[in-house]
Amino acid sequence: MNIQDIVYLIVQVVVIILVSPLLDGIRRIMIAKFQSRRGPVDIFQTYRDIIKLFKRSETMPDCGTWVFRSAPYLMFTIMAVVIAVLPVMHTNGTFAAASDLFLIIYLFALMRFIFGIASVDSGNPFAGIGGSREQMIALFVEPTIILAAIVVVFITGGVTNLGEIKNFVSSEAILNVLPVFIFSGVAFLFATYVETGKKPFDLAEAEQEIQEGLLAEYAGKRLALAHGALVLKQVAIVGLFISIYVPWPVIDIPILSLVFFLVKLVIFYYFASFVEGVSTRLRIGDTRLAASGAFTLAFISLILFIIGRAA
């Protein structure tokens, strides 16, 4: 339990939390530019939105219990925890036990759980449907994430701690299992994209519409926190992808690895907003077809792994 890991953890969380609205601002400008419209004034627009919301007064539905009132705080914290445990600055330190693959996947499930309960608790019909859609999307995405991640675990010899995986992936041993790794990486990437709630599968901006329906009943600081939590969620899921599949320029100076992590985040956001800019929204049924495509990719990687191992 050395102090250094705790400091790195705190720095990592604070920096990423502060940077994430910036990434969201970049994304909104990118999409506006691809759709040849002006978009927000500059990349700091999301900061201003969130700060404005903190200052506003609140309204609450009469039927809201403590679940509804505390949900934004809980969601924000869970996403902060996920970001904290990612092995960016501290790999295999005291927090190795907290950065387990299944633990993170089930933390996302905890996030969904609270999201679902709060959405129905608000009494708002749109929020209810939003909660139910959130679970449905997870149903399509989960098998791909698990299968892809499991194949990576198989490659690293069965250890599910992200630190171990990162060490193995960044070592040369990855080269002889490269095709398996690439297929599972692509599948995982696709699942991450769906999970972040971008355009082809869901429209984050259309708060009043379905996917972010939960926000309908929130106002003031709770709306700010909820919005922040959803932004953090996108960063967290992408962070998970990066820490498993793109660990390169491995440097033992934590600060530099944090900077490189942020750069990789920006690159991902750049491509994500490109895809989001040009695509139109699919119905939820079509997500099923796209998700099964990703699942077959992950399945191919499993077959390659078995053949590779047998040979």
Partner: protein, 654 residues
């Protein structure tokens, strides 16, 4: 060991004596078992490492009860849930004070627990079967305290399947005992059986015990019988009775010469039960039926763990076997706690609202805060959300499946990975299902004003019963290293090999990966400061919070606008209709604006594949045969002559 049983028998006798006094019978009839369970918990907890033997001499056959780590683990689980259920039962019995005699309910309740305790320690074929069927008999009577037309149909199905299962187990055990030459379980280890005989015996045991555990093909009685029982009884049945079947499978398969494809078969059935259990649970809108289907799902998860255990033992890999069993056994105690908690929670909702249909409830959290909180903890535990116990046992199961996949051939890897994916999908569906259950019952606006007005918090002892299990869930979650250590020496006693599974606050799996619920909780609590920090920095509006009706685009809000149970999973039913075969009843009342009655009910496909054809066949056969007895005496007399002729021909020429 004998003192625990005697306490329960005393409780049974006492509650029978107080047949006339309802109030006293409730306190005594359920008080004594509570005390007995408390004593049992202490006794069996110390028994986890040691072992003791009890010989009861009956003239017909010497009864022998052996307490080895495996039996004391299951007895510990039974006593833990028994404690909560009996404390809960003291006040819950008030609901039945008018209709039925509480003394009788106490009598059967005590006998039910003691028969389960004796089943897990019996070491003699005859006495095992006696207590096995006695457990079914007492639960049959307990179910009938909720007397309705549906109960009668459900209990017949329950008894018949349990009896056929019992017969299969009896045949299997007798095949073993004739091989071993004695009725004592201790002599059954390592008798020489031919391969086919071993497989036959395995199938007899697996489907015999499976019928009681609710494994997929023979689970049909479970969603019928559990909802019909009084809640504290269905809590016991769902939490512990089906675990005695898991104990049976483990105990009996230890005797047989295991072969690898058995382990794989158990895993396939486990995955099937998990997936289909949760899928059918999603379509239910009766709370207890939904929870019953979840028992099928969790039994599937337990079987995944035990399947890996058997696979490990068959392939001689002790570490893998220990990993599998620790996953399976840990989930046994976890499932017992949170399923018991959920059933008790549902029971206290029914206690106040007298209604099991979710679509009529809503917003009860404000009226019943403690029950709501307990139910929430139970829901989070069953969906395996991190800090709680559900996550730890599923994590162990994942680790054992991964190790098994790495260790086995191509076919094995496919099946084990398939099991991992099935477990993950089950996790997602469980989250969806329990979001639906919790939020539709406890949150949002009440859908039926009358029910909402009448409901208030359940009496103290019921809440106390629930919070015992809430404490257990949290303790088993955060105290995972200690618990895993204890369970490891139970699985050590089974497989003979084990691995170091607890290091400080971390839990270690066989493949070396570590996780620590305590650490994640610490990080969670410390991160909780961050949102408050941000609100403190930027907050400056001090105006009070305005309470309004939920916003529905300006129209007047009515509680019917709110999402209810069925539409929450509506989309999934459309996608999976090939499985659910929804029967949609749609009645158009008067004209366009009239009220429309719509109800859809998912039919378990297994009914139409197996059960209805069997029943129709029996009916057809007996109708054909009834022609034999058509009342004409001359025909009867000719039967005698025909049989005489037939037998004489056999005698002369046979």
């Amino acid at each position: 060991m004998a003192e625990v049983y005697l306490l329960f028998l005393a409780g049974a006798a006492a509650s029978l004596l107080l047949y006339k006094f309802q109030k006293a019978a409730a306190y005594i009839g359920f008080g004594i078992p509570a005390a007995a369970c408390a004593f049992g918990i202490w006794y069996f907890f110390s028994g986890l490492t040691g072992g003791s033997e009890l010989l009861v001499s009956f003239p017909i056959m010497e009864a022998k009860f052996v307490l080895d780590p495996l039996s004391s683990f299951f007895s510990f689980v039974i006593c833990l849930i028994g404690l909560a259920a009996s404390i809960y039962g003291i006040h819950y019995a008030e609901e039945y004070s008018g209709k039925v005699s509480i003394g009788a309910m106490g009598f059967f309740f005590n006998l039910f627990i003691v028969s389960m305790l004796m089943v897990v320690t019996a070491a003699h074929v005859f006495w095992f079967m006696v207590f096995w069927e006695f457990m079914t008999l007492t639960s049959f009577f307990l179910i009938h305290f909720n007397d309705s037309e549906k109960t009668a149909k459900a209990t017949v199905l329950y008894m018949v399947i349990a009896h056929i299962g019992g017969a299969a187990i009896l045949t299997g055990m007798l095949l073993m005992s004739t091989g071993a030459g004695s009725f004592y379980f201790s002599d059954f280890k390592g008798i020489n059986l031919s391969a086919t005989m071993a497989t036959v015996i395995f199938f007899l045991f697996f489907f015999g015990f499976g019928s009681k555990a609710g494994i997929f093909p023979v689970h049909v009685w479970l969603p019928e019988a559990h909802p019909a029982a009084p809640s504290h009884v269905s809590a016991l049945m769902s939490a512990v009775m089906i675990k005695t079947a898991i104990y049976g499978i483990i105990r009996t398969c230890l005797w047989l010469p295991l072969s690898e494809w058995w382990g794989i078969m158990i895993i396939v059935f486990g995955a099937l039960s998990a997936l289909l259990g949760v899928l059918y649970a999603l379509t239910q809108h009766d709370t207890k039926a939904l929870l019953a289907y979840h028992s099928v799902e969790n039994i599937g998860i337990i079987l995944l763990g035990c399947g890996v255990g058997f696979y490990g033992m068959a392939s001689g890999n002790g570490i893998l076997a220990a990993a599998g069993f620790i996953g399976g056994l840990y989930h046994v105690i976890n499932h017992a706690t949170f399923k018991g908690l959920l059933f008790l929670g549902a029971g206290s909702v029914i206690f106040r609202t007298h209604n099991q249909d979710m679509n009529k409830l809503g917003g009860l959290a404000r009226k019943m805060p403690y029950t709501a909180f307990a139910f929430l903890i139970g829901a989070m535990a069953i969906s395996a959300l991190p800090p709680l116990n559900g996550f730890v046992s599923e994590w162990f199961t994942y680790q054992s499946l991964i190790q098994a996949a790495l260790g086995s051939g191509a076919m094995g890897t496919f099946i084990f990975t398939g099991a991992i994916v099935a477990l993950a999908v089950t996790g997602v569906l469980a989250v969806m299902c329990f979001v639906k259950v919790y939020s539709v019952i406890f949150t949002g606006t009440p859908r039926d004003e009358k029910i909402w007005e009448k409901s208030k918090e359940s009496p103290f002892l019921m809440v106390a019963g629930m919070f015992i299990l809430v404490g257990a869930c949290i303790l088993l979650g955060l105290g995972a290293p200690y618990a895993a250590g204890k369970i490891m020496n139970v699985s050590l006693s089974i497989t003979g090999m084990g691995f170091e599974t607890a290091r400080g606050i971390n839990v270690v799996s066989s493949t070396g990966s570590i996780v620590s619920p305590v650490l994640i909780s610490i990080v969670f609590v410390s991160m909780l400061v961050v949102p408050f920090l941000f609100t403190a920095i930027f907050r400056d509006s001090t105006s009070t919070v305005r309470i309004t009706k939920p916003y529905v685009c300006g129209t007047k809000y009515s509680s019917r606008m709110q999402i209810t149970a069925s539409p929450f999973t509506g989309f999934l039913r459309q996608v999976m209709n090939w499985l659910f075969r929804n029967e949609v009843h749609f009645e158009e009342t008067n004209g366009y604006f009239g009220r429309v009655k719509y109800s859809s009910h998912a039919k378990d496909i297994w009914w139409s594949i197996f059960y209805t054809p069997v029943m129709k066949g029996l009916q057809f056969l007996s109708d054909r045969l009834s022609v034999l007895q058509n009342g004409r005496m001359q025909l009867y007399a000719s039967y005698v002559l025909v049989t005489l002729a037939f037998f004489i021909i056999i005698a002369i020429f046979g």
